[in-house]
Symmetry: C2
Subunit: 356 residues, 2 copies
């Protein structure tokens, strides 16, 4: 059990007026107990009581070594885990993991009539938002791998593979670095495809003067990386160079704005305003970034409507882009840690304009 | 809208005493409306009223053409989809999709105090259990691809790739046949690994006289295939041959038992008893099969405790196995459709003992 993290969650429970909660997401359970368990359809629940007692209700099919601070209740397929849970839960409001499958909640309501419920996930999301030293180190390692993968894949792209083929090659490269899997399906987008931020890589071939968006990430020791670079094939038009330099400066300004006390919307605006002032505001069609850690998208967003102040230990992406429909797209993305005095950038692969 | 399927669901709703229900699983929505939509965190709900009116509540990010019989309610990120849903729902018990994330249900309870809920998934699971002619044809196509993939992969295995490498090669072969993805992560298990039914394919190399379990499936036009064959490398011991022939006969007997009115447990017992009588009962450590369709594991299981009678249109696996810890494993699996008079086997790749 990660005691400090648990104590932090318990503190937040009392701030939210909750004395008990149920955590079911494998990522949140991993965050608190240091073990990754995927139990499929079978109920897996970490019950946390504000008095500090935790119970992990787990099917016998998922053996887990005993560990101090984790009180395991092992059930088998002939037993009813909701019944077990209902005997533990006290007659007070319960926080429920946002993604707990409804059929468990419906059964629990039947067994504990009159009990009230609230979405407990904001508590754990807020706790996970601030990374501790161990997590920051893991995020550095994950991004170091991502830098190396970017360095290897860019020369390969120039050899004329389709977008989909490059995605396959990426899998092999991540594997070489011991990365278990992608943190999201890689986005490799050529030319006009690069103007669609949610393009799915397909059999598009690379053409002369295409912009190439490379948005990639892997999961290393359970932590996610996420970085984007944009390069050009054989040549870049004057327009393409102009757009590239604007996005690069927006990326730099977004990062420069990161410090404790800055609001998420201030960071968004630092990047966005530069693009707007350059006349491309209507072509920057998404938020500037998102928090990241065990999950690739964590709470909160770095967006124009989020007035939350950032704090040391937060890690998020700064990823402005300009997308000219039918012509080209440019996005440049780095992960950034908020430090006591400012920021630390986790990605070090060059952002200079590259023609491959 | 697939009207016959919807009417069938509505009939079952009244059998279950429900006048309204919420479906959220992409597979069940696909089953009813013929479109596959994955909306991530954003609420996607098909509301079905027993009076025949359906509403699909969908975020504007997932554009869907208008189609007769589907009344779309499109919301954007500034709107609250649970509010929209709460205005549609009548003050009667509601069936809820088993995997609907709890935070939606908690919000709905807040907005509609006093409303009661029940797990509505058995209704849709029972409807999906009986495949119609269109689905049976799609399942035939999916299994035809699987037969071809099996035929291609077996000679490659003999070339000495690791288990994990074979899994990669499988991805390329499925892709060649236009199969979107695996229906489950392929299981390629050599020697002692083949004795662990849930082994994860790793860097194990093939050794002389190893048994090789090949349990594979792909998703073709949204329908899943699933087949297992076992072969031997260079030679097979007398014990291995004996075990193989027992499992083969158990597979045949399980299939022969399939006809309308047979109970799932009877089919299980037909395969299991032959293995028990041969003295290997303790080494057949799983159920005989599971239903399959849009999802690779559907309701119900073909197990020793399921007394449900099978009906025409059900499709399930018959997959007995014998696992001798530390030595070898053999499993032989085919998909079978229940017909009016008996069965149709969907897999045609040979089951003769092969030494590669």
């Amino acid at each position: 059990m990660k005691t400090e993290r648990l104590n932090n969650v318990i503190r937040k429970m009392s701030e939210h007026g909750l004395e008990q909660m149920i955590i079911s997401s494998p990522a949140s359970i991993f965050y608190l107990i240091g073990r990754w368990i995927e139990s499929g359809e079978r109920m897996l629940v970490l019950y946390i009581n504000a008095d500090g007692k935790c119970r992990l209700i787990i099917n016998e099919l998922f053996p887990l070594e005993d560990e101090p601070g984790i009180d395991k209740i092992v059930y088998n397929d002939r037993e009813d885990p909701v019944e077990i849970l209902s005997e533990i839960i006290e007659d007070k409001k319960v926080g429920i993991d946002k993604n707990w499958p409804s059929h468990f909640l419906i059964r629990l309501m039947e067994k504990k009539r009159g009990l009230s419920f609230q979405n407990g996930s904001p508590i754990i999301d807020e706790a996970r938002m601030i990374k501790d030293a161990e997590e920051i180190q893991l995020m550095r390692e994950a991004s170091r791998v991502n830098d190396k993968v970017m360095e290897e894949i860019i020369p390969l792209i120039g050899q004329g593979y389709t977008e989909a083929r490059v995605c396959k090659l990426l899998g092999d490269i991540y594997e070489k670095y011991g990365t278990a899997s992608f943190s999201f399906h890689p986005l490799i987008a050529y030319g006009a495809n690069a103007a669609e931020p949610h393009h799915e890589s397909d059999n598009t071939a690379l053409k002369n003067s295409d912009s190439v968006i490379i948005d990639i990430g892997g999961i290393t020791k359970r932590y996610c990386s996420d970085m984007t670079r944009t390069v050009f094939f054989h040549q870049a038009s004057e327009e393409a160079k102009e757009v590239y330099n604007i996005v690069l400066e927006a990326n730099r300004r977004g990062i420069e704005a990161v410090k404790p006390g800055a609001r998420c919307c201030d960071i968004d605006m630092s990047a966005r305003k530069f693009i707007e002032d350059a006349g491309y505001g209507q072509y920057f069609i998404h938020r500037t970034g998102h928090n990241i850690g065990i999950d690739v998208h964590e709470f909160p967003d770095i967006s124009s409507v989020n007035t939350m102040e950032v704090k040391p230990g937060m890690i998020f992406s700064v990823e402005p882009g300009i997308y000219l429909p039918g012509r080209l797209g440019v996005r440049i993305e780095d992960l950034v840690v908020v430090t006591e005095s400012g920021y630390e950038v986790l990605n070090h692969y060059t952002k200079e304009l590259q023609i491959i």
